[in-house]
Symmetry: C2
Subunit: 375 residues, 2 copies
């Protein structure tokens, strides 16, 4: 993997760049839709390409449990298994182990847990996380970390950072494949000195990129932005920076200005399935009765398959009738929205007008002009 910065904004830390992987390149800042179980929910690989998606995230924990990483390995890896030829990033499985399983036992060695599917017992430590991710064959893989809950006592987070550093070292030692980039994950909760410690220790080991973990776990927005700002200072500017599990269009825009290059979140896909659609004028709940006879597209400025072919009235009907097509069409739109958002942000950075872009972004949503005209 190669990361090349193509432009640095002058008024903030925002930058544009390009990441090269064995499965092609993508520009940053980038948003990665989540394909939890080897499928970005409700859409096909072709739909993703059409919606402008360049890279996706897959969940190691889910694929480890079902269908199993050895099976995917024997099928030629995840790209081939799911017929996705563009880049993939896999998380380490850590976050899902902490958030989805029961009867967890955490030791220096790793985590023993019960499957959320069938209650079976499993163990994943840093070595296993790397082995699984090597079998899956993503272009970018993540170190196995411990994500402290929020809020957590200082002593707990301190221990968590120590463990995360130790595990990161073991991940580097275990790694065998030369065609996968490995990112370290900075922990440290909301404590600036622990974030600094975590960042410094990981940077000393030399990862291909760095992620901010342990955020978007319940803290408020100001706290999250403070932690990002304080942590970025201790990370090498020439490496890609990935903010895990974030977020809303607003969250992403703010984080880009703080220097973040990569994002992932279930928001566009999950919201789509719940009938919440993103537009340039803000969010739209498609089940609202006001759309029952509205023959306009979701967003008149959007060129996605959904907006080019279907009315709000029809999309509302599909959603109310719980038709499967509803989930797909809504997801296509939301993913296209996120793709366009990231493209617009990249263009604004390149043209030295990201501050103006940000002002306009909020203005359009706030002044209700868009609400009246578009919604």
């Amino acid at each position: 993997m190669e990361f090349r910065i193509t432009h640095r904004a002058s008024g903030c830390r925002a930058r544009t760049g390009e990441i090269q992987t064995p499965h092609g390149n993508f520009e940053t800042p980038v948003f990665m839709p989540v394909g939890t179980q080897g499928s970005v929910k409700a859409v096909s690989p072709e739909d993703l390409v059409d919606a402008g998606v360049k890279v996706i995230l897959a969940n190691t924990y889910h694929l480890y449990l079902r269908p199993g990483y050895t099976l995917i390995g024997r099928q030629g890896g995840l790209h081939r298994f799911m017929n996705w030829s563009r880049p993939i990033l896999t998380d380490s499985g850590g976050f899902q182990v902490y958030s989805l399983t029961s009867l967890r036992t955490l030791t220096e060695q790793g985590v023993t847990f019960q499957s959320h599917i069938d209650g079976s017992r499993h163990f994943i430590g840093p070595e296993e996380a790397i082995d699984i991710q090597e079998a899956l064959g993503a272009d970018i893989i993540m170190a196995f970390d411990e994500c402290a809950p929020y809020p957590s006592e200082y002593a707990y987070v301190q221990r968590s950072v120590r463990l995360t550093t130790s595990w990161a070292r073991r991940c580097l030692d275990r790694k065998k494949r030369g065609d996968q980039a490995l990112f370290g994950i900075v922990q440290g909760g909301m404590y600036p000195d622990l974030r600094e410690t975590s960042a410094r220790e990981l940077v000393a080991m030399g990862f291909d990129g760095y992620a901010l973990g342990g955020l978007s776990v319940g803290e408020d927005r100001a706290t999250r932005e403070r932690v990002i700002r304080e942590t970025v200072d201790f990370l090498p500017q020439e490496k890609p920076l990935y903010l895990m599990g974030v977020g809303t269009p607003e969250d992403i825009l703010e984080a880009v200005m703080l220097g973040v290059d990569m994002f992932d979140c279930v928001m566009p896909t999950r919201n789509a399935r719940n009938g919440t659609l993103f537009t340039t004028a803000g969010r739209m709940s498609i089940k609202n009765a006001r759309y029952a006879e509205d023959n306009r597209p979701i967003d008149e400025s959007c060129h996605c398959y959904t907006c080019m072919n279907f009315s709000r009235a029809y999309l509302r009907h599909l959603f109310m009738a719980r038709e499967i097509l509803s989930y797909r069409l809504n997801t296509i739109h939301n993913l296209a929205y996120y793709s366009r958002l990231m493209g617009d942000i990249r263009t604004a950075i390149g043209e030295e007008r990201v501050a103006e872009y940000r002002a306009t972004f909020y203005e359009v949503q706030k002044n209700g002009l868009g609400q009246k005209e578009v919604l």
Copy 2:
């Protein structure tokens, strides 16, 4: 609507033909996938076109209840509402009223019933069925009939035929639009003389086509084929003949040889969502563990999007993980299978080898060669 017979088989009643409608032509024998609520479940209009679908059926009862036929009318009709530019046939709503609703009251005037969605009370008679279907704007619409349950006493079916004839007359009288073809529906249960009566009475009124109703309601296959055979004699050979709610590939093949031109059934779509896939060698249950690591397509002779891009192993995983994409990919394959089946049957009729086609069709499925090699 125009119906033109292009070839009559010499050894049986099978024939090929072409139906011209305001939304384009399609060849017969034809299979119409069911788009119950204004969507063929799990697929888009584009998917239908890619799977070779030329005409679909929509359910008047469902669209009447949700989103409502006046709404669809104001949205420019069903074609425009669901973005399907090819022909549509709507049923009369009768069958669903009898099979899905509660607290039904049947009178000479029509049927009062409670919605299966919210329990609200509604009335549909022949005039209402025509008004609704004119608002929906399908290319082919159906007369409102009474479908007797199976088994039913002779006297009940006799009364049902009388009512169906009376309602058919009122449908013809009510019809205002000149761009929709209206089909009559022959009832009469399994009683040959009542089928004859029903057929003669409808033919005397002069419909654009004739349907066989009240079949596929629980009778055995031999009985169904006997009824088809006995009824066809009393219907004009120059009009299209439609067997409602049928069926399996085998059922369709047999009925084609008895002279049937049109079919509809939820089988390919519903089976797809249950993980049952049609192949040239028979049915496949994709959840079967034997497919867990099978990297072949569902059917190596199939050129649908699913077979061209995904393995049995991946499709099994999607189905086991209940991923929404599973329903779409399975549905695309089953619809493509039905399209190919009908195309193969038409070609066989045209080439005067439908009997050989039939023999081979059963042989491939029966001798297990296909089972071993393809499945």
